[in-house]
Amino acid sequence: MNQNNLIVYLEFEDGRVADVSLELLTKGRTLASKLGVELEAVVIGDNLDGVEEQVFPYGVDRLYKVSDKRLAPYTSNPHSAVLINLFREIKPQACLMGATCIGRDLGPRVSSCLHSGLTADCTALEIGDHTDPKTGKEYKDLLLQIRPAFGGNIVATIVNPECRPQMATVREGVMKKEIFDPNHKGEVIELDPKKYVSDEDFVVEIIDRHIEKSKINIKNSPIIVAGGYGVGSKENFQLLFDLANTLGAEVGASRAAVDAGFTEHARQIGQTGVTVRPKLYIACGISGQIQHIAGMQDSSIIISINNDPNAPINTIADYVITGNIEDVVPKLIKYYKKNSK
């Protein structure tokens, strides 16, 4: 048995490995290379043909497949049972999962059973050493799990010195997805589901399911027009859509704007929304609280439109336009139309 590697749990639905899992493979590849270990992945579900073609280019050395009709769609106990039993055999030193409804349901259950630490919603993962401040004991090459805490007001680095696997979840969009090598090939290991999950694990029955792939794709848009509470209303948000349509951009939002019902949750940017790094970010009526900035600070160019010249977001903006949304946004549209081509 190959042991002590780094493993990524793959979310798989409708024939596709989820983006968040591919992002984790990219990160996992870097970490595994640094540790000098193999990158493994595990996929649990039904109709798993071709998963290897999707993930090998991301640098997966070994893919475990566990296939059974009852394993799709995801339910907590069966998927937990597979991971728990598999991890007992292959003893991974680290395991990464998406901080999604699935990863955040599965991770805690697995970590509880294996008594291994789990850090939710990491924003950065690194390899580093650690010295226990009390005992002075030194640990080499731990997974440093970096995450915001206290509502985003502090950043904490968490380590699991003794327990394995070191487990972490990461939100979609936080890590970058990048092909490692289009020709990379790994090994496929088909596991017998009967050895990893028992009939008694299938206790929760899915009666009904409506999952829609979100059509909103702010994560990959090169230009984002984001609106905050200062936009004032759902009607005013239409102004942002007009600007976005003119520029070929997507519309994003702050949590306050989403909570106020100006637009849908799928557009929320920040610590509890998506992380974006577009070429241009136009923040309209957004004050720039830490939790929002955490999700957009890596944008190349930031324009802030705010009627308060002292809005915190202005400090990280390249251009600060002091004025009202209602006045500034139509002018941006007008002068873009006038000056483009």
Binding site: P108, R109, G151, I154, I206, Y335
Partner: protein, 290 residues
């Protein structure tokens, strides 16, 4: 049907309204500057429990919380809103626990509590935002979990049917009892305090609180047993010292930093036509747009 319902709730610092004084000079948190509140999603969980009790009036709702002795504040709050009783699990040896040590301690308290039909908790607590404690307690108790619940549709014949709100859709699942259900903030808000219950329970106190009370108030607690809130410690719930508190936590905090963003040199513009047109031209010229 009389159900035995446990609601898990946590008293948390109000991280949503962190003011300037909430961070100390050295970058650590000034907990004293943050008001302690009932974790918001735990109130959503309490409402689901109260609805179960509305439908099954002979049911009892017991709030279980682990924290400082002052956490009995949220127990009174829950009782004002319709819960029946509460337990504060409090002990210095439980301090510094990560989610795993917390779940273990709470699971021990649940075992001590005895028979129950359903455990309801919030999806996550706003101080840590981990959403781990619910599923971990379920695992420790060896029972199923239903996370991201928005509504308990039905509870009968030993099963609970729950609507879950996921990232991009909804799912309805049927789970056998007993189980743990964690409730989302998108579920209905908790009902307000009931004025009569406030009158009846405003002098409810835990033993730590009672110790500081006047003789008159102590006498009242003796006369009216229902005013006594329970306090349990680690030994009482037979917690293994190796699995609790800081020593029982596999995860350790290596470092904490204040969040600082590097300020940029920004260009200041006003909303005049001239300045906005100039900006747009510049962005087109350097291929940022267009």
């Amino acid at each position: 049907m009389s159900l035995n319902i446990i609601v898990l709730a946590k008293q948390v610092p109000d991280t949503r309204n962190v003011g300037k004084d909430a961070m100390k000079e050295d970058g650590t948190i000034n907990r004293a500057a943050l008001p302690a509140i009932f974790n918001p999603e735990d109130l959503n969980a309490l409402e689901q429990a109260l609805r179960l009790k509305d439908a099954n009036p002979s049911s009892t709702i017991t709030l279980l919380t682990m924290g400082l002795p002052r956490a009995s504040e949220i127990i009174r709050e829950a009782i004002y809103r319709g819960a029946d009783a509460g337990i504060v699990l409090t002990d210095r040896v439980l301090g510094g626990a990560d989610t795993l040590a917390t779940s273990y301690s709470l699971a021990q308290a649940v075992k001590k509590f005895g028979k129950f039909d359903i455990i309801l908790g919030g999806r996550q607590a706003i101080d840590g935002d981990t959403a781990q404690v619910g599923p971990q307690i379920a695992e420790k108790l060896g029972i199923p979990q239903v996370t991201y619940a928005e509504e308990i549709i039905e509870l009968k014949d030993g099963y609970v049917t729950v609507k879950r709100r996921l990232e991009n859709g909804v799912e309805t699942v049927k789970a056998p009892l007993p189980c743990v259900v964690t409730v989302n903030g998108s579920a209905p808000a908790c009902r307000p305090r009931n004025a009569m219950r406030v009158q009846k329970f405003k002098y409810a106190a835990s033993p730590s609180e009672a110790a500081k009370l006047s003789d008159e108030r102590k006498a009242l607690l003796e006369k009216r047993p229902y005013l006594n809130l329970q306090e349990w410690n680690a030994a009482f719930v037979e917690a293994d010292p190796e699995q609790i508190g800081l020593p029982g936590s596999p995860t350790k905090v290596k470092a904490i930093e204040n969040v600082v963003f590097t300020a940029k040199e920004s260009r200041q513009l006003d909303d005049s036509d001239a300045q906005i047109e100039e900006l747009v031209k510049e962005l087109i010229a350097n291929h940022t747009i267009g």
